[in-house]
Amino acid sequence: MAALLEVRDLTIEFTTKAGIVHAVEGASFDVERGEALGLAGESGCGKTTTALALMRLLPYNGRIVRGSISFAGRSLVPLEEASMRAIRWKEMSIVFQGAMNSLNPVQRVGRQIAEPIILHEDADSDVALKRAGDLLELVGISRNRLNDYPHEFSGGMRQRVMIAMALACDPKLVIADEPVTALDVMIQAQILDLLERLRRELDLAMILISHDLSVLADTCEQVTIMYAGKTMESGKTMDLFTDPKHPYTQGLVGAFPDIRGPRNMPEAIPGDVPSLISPPSGCVFHPRCKFAFDRCSNAEPELSELAPGRRAACFLYPEVTEVPGRSMPIATR
């Protein structure tokens, strides 16, 4: 059976005054039914853009240059706007980063949750509001609060409301874009716990986007690492985190202090994230890579399969023997 969501060679550009921003280039990943995929990377690596593109919600100056998105057997890129609208929220919904800004400040949360139900299921507003109440209780908020406005909730509660809203039409896939960033660890744990429970109970597929690898390590089965709009490495969470192959993944994993590990200072990746308007030639990571050699600045490495389900875009791997005088990098952990 084909995967629920198949993304192939997705490439997105933004036209800005300063030039064309190559926000995402050649992103490819699959999400199976009931599975959680983690998209990780630092700021400006194209995670959020990818999420918006999946729902075809790019801002007016962004466009999908090439690539395909196939969702439940349907190809989304050429789909016309009206049919896309029928898919949004009904089959695929999204939880944005800042719950404060993602909720309409002048509408009661009950109405906001009920809105997609009324729209997609032709329900009348009493039925929809009743469902909205059920959904609120599902995420652990009393249904008495249906008539409250977003500003009357705390940050964690608002994120719960967003999650309830995302589940309104029983979607098959929920995209959660940095759902716990800017929340306290305890609330963060509560929300992640809730997401995991809901995923099990409702058999949801989920894309979890985060800059925090440690959040993904706990919750996802598959992880894709992005850097400057390109996919660097992907694979099963356990393999990828315990034995990172790509130098960027190694650096990223090593940059997080581990409270359950030894008291070592994490390692830095020297340099800064490159500009997306004029990205470096060859491998985008080579200016910061400690293993970089000549070829890295000339040619761009393909994302190639190292082991079943494990892919990386790095010259070090398939042809590592071709580089004389360089030892095979060993994962720092």
């Binding site: 609208r85 949004r88 999204i94 944005f96 400040p105 002048v106 809105e115 406005y149 500003h151």
Partner: protein, 303 residues
Amino acid sequence: MPGDPSLSIIPRDPKFRGLRDYMISFFGLDRPQWEQFVIYLQRLFTLDWGLSYQDHRPVADILLHDLGWTLLLVGTSTILTVLIGIAIGAYSAIRRGKPFDFVSTGIGIFLYGMPIFWLGLVLQSAFRKNSVFQGWIPWWPALPTSGYYDDRLIPWNWDILHVADAFLHLLLPALTLSLGTLAGISLVMRNSLIDVMTEDFVTTARAKGLSPRQVLRRHILPNGMPPMVSLIALDIAFILGGAYQVEVIFRYQGIGFRTIEAIGSLDYPLLQFIIVIGGAAVVIANLLADFLLLWLDPRIKIS
């Protein structure tokens, strides 16, 4: 106080000396200024706004009559402006960067910079009887260009003839005033909506599968309105300023027309009351706006 009002009431001729002295003492102009002021304040306290120097009627009577017509003019054009301005502003916000936006914004700024009195003069010339255009285009309409309604219909009666005629007379002044203030409102509306459109909840709304029209009606407009309301309230003073010019041009004898006359004759009681009315209008407009905001924006609480 500069300018002696008595001079403009009574001809400066020795034979009117007695009358002049009587008038001066009648209006209390012979007393010291501070005393005049105290008397004025005393009368204010009893809602007595004094008598006009010009036609000796109570100031309040004169102005309340005028006020009705000014309100008709300002009200009509404000409603017109707000409706059309919001529509244009909203449409150019959606079509941001497209030709419609470019053209409407350009015309908007152009109109914004047009002196209202000049616009009135041009329109008046264009739609008067025997205007140049009538020579060129046979069906070019001629509209009444002065007064509230036709002189031949005086006195006023509440019948269809009078109302229709008053409406015809209102057409040009209201159009002038609307054109003059329309641009400001549509430009502010456009910018305010564009601000709202970059907010995350609009993306959420789109992600819910709402059509652009539904997104606009349910999410963008309700959030774009509160700043508009307070701006329109602040703009009331400017709209009034425009109304004064229009009244002068079209001899529409409302408050503004009366103001210019009062200035010409240095009719201070009248002027003072006009300023009070203007201030009151602005205060009332702001109060109304505050109540409207309370209803539009749940985040505002009465404290």
